[in-house]
Amino acid sequence: MTVTKQDLVDFVYAEARMLDERRFEEWLTLFAEDGIYWMPLHHDEPNPKLVTTLFHEDLLLLKTRVLRLMGERTFSQQPASRCHHLLQAPMVDRFDPDAGEFSTWASFLYTETRADEKLFYTGWVMHDLVLIGGELRIKQKKVQLIDCDAPHRNLQLFM
């Protein structure tokens, strides 16, 4: 597959739509086997392993979350949460087809609702993408919230 910059942008949009449409199991397939979903608790977070983070999750944990969302006794999902991603056009920060490595950056507004509660989050999402078997996969998705260190309510879905 020859990757174009537009392919990267399309990937980021398609991923957000997948989450909005609650196609979570399909979403998991977008990650490389060693892919990470990271949401820092700090601005300029140093080593995410040596401080607390909001998310720093591998596929095992992401799979756990997705399975749990569907569970019969997942009381915090009765009723279920809904989410909405509003993305600014992603910018391509790194485009290296020879190495098969790409990075994008996008500004977002995210809304998560459950019953009568509506939560708004604002931040930037940075995708590190790689080519695996000719397909783009997520090596790391980093979500930097503008108020990462604020007191948050339950955040149950994915930004």
Binding site: V51, T52, T53, L60, T64, H152
Partner: protein, 438 residues
Amino acid sequence: MTYADPSDLVRGGEVHRDLFVDQKLFDQEMSNLFANCWVYVGHESQVPKRGDYYATTIGSQPVIMVRQKDGTVKVIYNRCPHRGVQLVNEGHGSVGPMFRCPYHAWTFNTDGSLFGVPVKDGYKESGFSESCASHGIEGVATHVYRQFVFARLAREGIGFEEFFGESLTTIDNMVDRSPEGRLEVAGAPLRYMHYCNWKMLVDNQTDTFHPMIAHESSAGTVRKIWEESGAQGPKPMVVEVVLPFTAKHEFYVEMGIRTWPNGHGHTGTKYSIHSDYTLPKEYTDAMEAAYGAERAEAILQEARHNTVYFPNMTMKGAIQTLRLFKPLGPDRTLVESWVFRLAGAPDELLERSALYNRLINSPTSIVGHDDLEMYERAQQGLKVSATPWVNYQREFHPGERYDSTQLWSGQSEVQMRNQYDAWVKFMKPAVSGEEVQA
């Protein structure tokens, strides 16, 4: 202003619902309970140098923990005695040699005493020296125990050693787990907003009957995925941390509970969900070098589950986490979850503590989601006035006493009863109570 005799609201293993929903009673907790008790403020490592401060709250009261010229740490109120402006905003910083109010430039030494008022002539015949403001910033009784800073707002009251007694052994164990006998706060705390009463969170720390039920969706799913993968080889850190939450009732019964006077207590007297963590050899070697083999083993075998430091702090010595339940209103609680680094220990231990904090205590935590759902449903359910009493009678025996150290079976609700016994005791009016009104 007194709502009722607090002792009318706690009886034989039952607690009145007003403790969770009533605004006047909450105000009375702020003016009395949170003034009479020694409340956790912060950790010395947050203010390493002279003039370094950490601004926070004790109950409803804004306070500052600040490092003094002589190296000690003191707690003072965060209020300029002039017109009430907070001298610093919440969080960390440094004031250098003195506080300077940003409104009219009154200055104060770091112990709160008044240093200077600009253009003092304006107060020449005002009777200023008799004023409240002339005293400077009010200080608070402060006690530092092995780097942990506590304060008591009431001018008179129970002493630190008498209040905590043998419960300090949990802090000892956490600090002793450092080969250098020293801890450092590692990074910012998680801050998690709960729409429920602060006491529900404290109750839940020693509620060993809920993990296998309320956390079936989170910990149960980890177990399922691990077993479906064949459960081969060394357990990933995540599995090692979460799997014990699915343990059966017998595990928790056998684990045991210890209560101490004044509302303190802990689960896990014999072992706990933290007992079977893998420890790197580099660390056990460092511990043996520091303490000798026998003592090092004793320190590491003491793996208490949750220790409640009444009223609103809990600690896990075995994993170096601390949680503070900050009351904001009868139905509002800010939960802060902190992680500590053991000085002289390899990073792998801090990595597990940070991972534990994120997996269990975070607003993104699936375990946290399970718990918060229960608290908030309870906060709503307790609106039912037709059923005024909340039940805590599991393994209760009338005449039960809490005035000495005692051991109990691990699924008893005895530690919660111990807390409510202390709640009645410390709800009496505080000395100088009117000065710490909510």
